[in-house]
Structures are given as structure tokens and as C-alpha cells.
């Protein structure tokens, strides 16, 4: 393993220091427990939107803290859900009197830790709700699994939910918007190479030179299926089929298309894949109205991409377009 780190045990803290140094105008970093909080938190009278999860997915979530998106992010150890006390500290630091919405990705660890945190915060008299995002079509949504994972859909979810809070929606309304997004967002990921977790020191899986993990998650857990490497046209078609066929997205639908790099994918390949996805969706009569392309929810240095589709209506489009000012997403400001 070769990494630009000093010690696996201090990677998260040291990286947060860099984030604080680079974006001190937008965020404040607390080291213990590790938190990234809006510089101007708490925002009085506004619903606080808080998310978090294991580190290693940057810019998710810390890079999305700032006006118009998250009030706080709670980074756990690499690929490890944060603990309840850290989540609770984030809730306390951002409570503006209008309640808090926790955005939780559907992993056993995240759900359990955030659940406990919500209980702790409720015990302090705070109004805390949670939504769980589970947009990964690679996983069967059945009692034979822990349920679908929360993956790429988390990014538009956090953006749109944050925008709803910023426009002054009540906690009920913010929660309703979040649930609407969760109901109509779907994703699929592929990996060409594995990530290497710093404390593990070895790649999380091995792939032959002609193999791809289809239906990969964001934690280096193996994908659902190992397929032979194939040209981009075929691979992206397989991905679009999986995502579009799931909700399903139908002819005439307006969508946000989010083509995401898993971290190590050259941008030239990412845009190439995005172009193919645009073409395939056009062929299906699905209207791509908004798009996001870049490394926004990553798995360390893993090479690969994910494709997320969110069905848009006027409200979601307006909330997507609303100003956002965070380290990783910025427009309208």
C-alpha cells in the first residue's frame, strides 16, 4: 500500500484539518468527536439537515456542508459508520429550533448508530427525524438482504433536502421532500479496480485484468456479479438498463442524470460514460433536464463509476437549482 498519509489511525482527523484550512469560510471542523459543521451554525429558525457515515467517500459528506445543503456532517473512521455520540454532537451543534433531519444511508451500522443518536437527541428534547436512503438497484430489496444500500442518490438527496430547509420549510415538509427524493432516485455502480483501506493495507478485492465488478457498493465490498470487461457502450447500457428499468423511468420522464466517479476514474472516461448515458436515455425518450458529473461519492481510489437517475418534477428541479455554497458543490452564489 502506498498512500499520502502519516498513520492510518489519524487519516480522518488530518484530512479534516486540511478541509478546515481550505474552506474555513464555509465549515468549522471539530476533531473529537469528528464533525464538520457549517461555519455559521446553528441557523436560527431553520431545519438542520445532518448526515454522515464512514469516511473514504469524500467529498461526501463533509464537502457538502454549507448554505443550501448540509448543516453538519459526521465522518466516521474509513468505511465505518460514526458513533451515536458524534451524531448527537452534530445535532446539538446545529439545532436552530426548527428540528433536525438526519440523512442516513441504508447500512446496518449507519442505521443502528444514527437510530441511537436520534434517541439520545430526543431525550434532550430535540425534534429529530431520520430518513434512510436505499437507492442501489444492485441489491435485492428483500428479507434476504440488509436491504438496498444508500449510494449515489445520497448526493441529490442532500442537495435537495438542504435547499428545502434553506427556503424555510418546516421539518414535516423537509422530511416529505427527502422522502419524495428517496422514492424516485435509483443508482448502480461498477468497479474496475479496488480501493485500499488505509488500516487494512491491502486492496479490498482483486480483479483480473478482464473483469469488472458490476453492482459495486462504495465500501470495497464485492459487487453483486463479476462480469467480463466490455466496451463502454455495452457497460453503460447495462447500467442504464439496470437503473432505468427499476423505478421504472418511463418515456417522457424528466430526470437528473448524475454520473459519478468512484474516485480513481480518469475524468476523460467519466465524461465519455456520461455522454453514452445521455444518448441512451434520449433513445428511451427520457429527458435529461439536469446533470451532475464528477467524483462526488467515492470509494477511496477505486476506479469505476456509478449512474444515478432522479425523476424530477417542478419542485425538485427548483430545489436542485437553488443556490448552494459548499466545498464541493457551488452554484447560484
Amino acid at each position: 500500500m502506498k498512500k499520502i498519509i502519516n498513520d492510518p489511525a489519524t487519516v480522518v482527523t488530518e484530512s479534516l484539518r486540511g478541509l478546515a484550512a481550505a474552506h474555513g469560510d464555509l465549515v468549522r471542523v471539530v476533531e473529537d468527536p469528528a464533525l464538520v459543521v457549517r461555519a455559521d451554525a446553528p441557523v436560527a429558525g431553520q431545519v438542520a439537515v445532518v448526515s454522515g457515515g464512514g469516511s473514504g467517500h469524500e467529498p461526501l459528506h463533509g464537502g457538502f456542508v454549507g448554505p443550501g445543503m448540509l448543516d453538519a456532517a459526521v465522518p466516521g473512521a474509513v468505511f465505518t459508520s460514526p458513533t451515536p455520540d458524534a451524531v448527537q454532537a452534530a445535532v446539538m451543534a446545529t439545532a436552530g429550533g426548527a428540528g433536525t433531519l438526519l440523512i442516513v444511508k441504508n447500512y446496518t451500522g449507519d442505521v443502528l448508530n444514527f437510530e441511537t443518536a436520534a434517541e439520545l437527541a430526543a431525550a434532550e428534547g430535540l425534534d429529530v427525524r431520520s430518513v434512510v436512503i436505499d437507492d442501489d438497484v444492485a441489491v435485492a430489496d428483500s428479507t434476504f438482504t440488509a436491504g438496498r444500500r444508500g449510494v449515489g442518490g445520497t448526493v441529490p438527496l442532500e442537495k435537495i433536502t438542504g435547499a428545502a430547509a434553506a427556503r424555510g420549510d418546516s421539518l414535516d415538509d423537509v422530511e416529505a421532500v427527502a422522502r419524495k427524493v428517496i422514492g424516485q432516485v435509483r443508482s448502480i455502480g461498477v468497479a474496475l479496480s479496488p480501493p485500499t483501506v488505509p488500516h487494512a493495507g491491502e486492496p479490498s478485492f482483486t480483479l483480473a485484468d478482464d473483469e469488472i465488478e458490476f453492482g459495486i457498493g462504495i465500501h470495497g465490498e464485492p459487487g453483486r456479479e463479476r462480469i467480463p470487461a466490455e466496451p463502454a457502450d455495452a457497460l453503460v447500457a447495462r447500467m442504464v438498463d439496470a437503473v432505468a428499468g427499476d423505478l421504472p423511468f418511463a418515456e417522457g420522464d424528466d430526470v437528473l442524470l448524475f454520473t459519478n466517479s468512484m474516485g480513481g476514474t480518469p475524468q476523460i472516461e467519466l465524461y465519455l460514460a456520461h455522454g453514452i448515458a445521455e444518448r441512451l436515455l434520449a433513445e428511451r425518450g427520457i429527458n435529461v433536464r439536469r446533470r451532475l458529473v464528477g467524483p462526488y461519492i467515492t470509494s477511496l481510489e477505486m476506479q469505476g463509476i456509478s449512474i444515478t437517475l432522479l425523476k424530477l418534477d417542478d419542485e425538485l428541479t427548483e430545489l436542485w437549482d437553488a443556490p448552494v455554497n459548499t466545498p464541493a458543490l457551488r452554484w447560484g452564489v
Binding site: P8, A9, P33, G54, G76, A77, V78, F79, T80, S81, P82, T83, P84, D85, A86, Y107, T108, G109, L112, N113, T116, A138, V139, A140, T143, F144, T145, A146, R149, V197, H199, A200, E202, S204, F205, G217, H219, G220, E221, P222, R224
Partner: protein, 209 residues
């Protein structure tokens, strides 16, 4: 070793040592079907537990287990943090302020811990989780206690059964936790949490010898 607060604290230190020794193994098991952090998470947690016990050893076995619980909950994260945290918390609550544990108390604590894990994680036996090690362990402990076994015998029975139970996860299709995403591909792998449960019980059995 007497099952006083100090004895339990010693057993917990032993567990921390065994976790440290098996850190890499647990990471490797988790890498195969999960996200390669189980050994790291538990080791971080038990390192903190030892530090907490270095500060002060609570006056009762239940108090010690409560320190373990709260420390694991605030240091481990992931799935294992709340699950093991809940197990130790329920065990601690069950024990109340008893000053010393007999075989019956140990069995009560184990049972409470298992019920805690099941309540939190909603896993059944056969789902390829720590429950598959923990469940036969508690059954064996209860049987041994009913047959008049002492603390050492009870814990030894639990550890032995946990080993067998953990091994049984190899042939299972995982239905809970991260390994469940793999479907059939999870078959052929030892569940890391089942393995760590067996290791912890072995540490307690060793301490009680």
C-alpha cells in the same frame, strides 16, 4: 480467578489482547465479504476500553461491563459497535450491582447480551452473523450451568460452542449485514462478527480458568 469487578476487568483486558492479536485476521475476513474494517473497529474499541479501565475500574462486574458497553458504543461505530455495545449494556443491566458472579449470573448475562444483539440487529440464526456464534454459545452455557458447571466450565462450553457456531457460517448465505449484498457469493466465507464473538468468549473462558 474470582468473578469480581477486578476479575471481570482482567477478563476484558484479555479480550482486548485477543482482539489485538486477531485484528488482521478479522480485517481479512471482513475484506472477503464486507468492508475490511471489523478488526480495526473492534481493536479501536477495546483499546479504548482498556484505557478506560486504566483510569478506574468500576466497583461491580456490571459496572465494568457498562464501561465496556459505553466505550464500545462511542468508539467502534459500524454495525459491530451498536451490536456489541448493546450486548454488554444488557448484560450489565441484568447483573445489577452484584459484587461477584456465579455460573447462573454469567448465564443470565450471556442470555441478556444475546437478546440485545437480536433485538438490535433483527438477525436470526442462519443469517450468517455473530448471532450464529452467540446463540449456540448461550445454549451451551445454559446447559452446562444446569448440569452444575462452574463459571469456568460454563464459559468454556460457551466458547467451544461459539467456535462451532462461527464455523457454521461458512456454508451460509448471508442475509444480514454487508455480506448479504453478495447473495450466493457470501457462501464459503467465515463471518467476521461470528469469529469475533467466538474470540471474545474464548478470552473470557481463558480468564476464568
Amino acid at each position: 480467578m474470582a468473578c469480581t469487578a477486578d476479575g471481570v476487568a482482567e477478563a476484558v483486558r484479555g479480550a482486548a489482547a485477543i482482539v489485538a492479536d486477531h485484528r488482521v485476521e478479522l480485517i481479512d475476513l471482513d475484506r472477503a465479504i464486507g468492508d475490511a474494517d471489523h478488526g480495526e473497529n473492534l481493536n479501536r474499541g477495546f483499546t479504548a476500553v482498556v484505557a478506560a479501565l486504566d483510569e478506574a475500574v468500576p466497583g461491580t462486574p456490571g459496572g465494568v461491563l457498562k464501561t465496556v458497553a459505553t466505550t464500545l458504543i462511542s468508539k467502534v461505530g459500524g454495525a459491530a459497535g451498536p451490536l456489541y455495545g448493546t450486548a454488554f449494556l444488557r448484560a450489565s443491566t441484568t447483573l445489577g450491582d452484584r459484587a461477584e458472579l456465579d455460573a447462573e449470573a454469567v448465564v443470565l448475562a450471556l442470555r441478556a447480551g444475546l437478546e440485545g444483539v437480536r433485538a438490535r440487529g433483527k438477525a436470526e440464526t442462519g443469517d450468517a452473523t455473530m448471532v450464529d456464534a452467540f446463540t449456540p454459545a448461550v445454549a451451551a452455557a445454559e446447559e452446562k450451568a444446569a448440569a452444575g458447571g462452574d463459571v469456568a466450565a460454563v464459559l468454556l462450553a460457551a466458547a467451544d460452542a461459539a467456535d462451532v457456531g462461527a464455523e457454521s457460517t461458512v456454508d451460509m448465505v448471508a442475509r444480514k449485514g454487508r455480506a448479504s449484498y453478495l447473495g450466493e457469493r457470501s457462501v464459503g466465507h467465515l463471518d467476521p462478527g461470528a469469529r469475533s464473538t467466538a474470540l471474545l468468549l474464548r478470552a473470557f473462558a481463558e480468564a476464568a480458568r
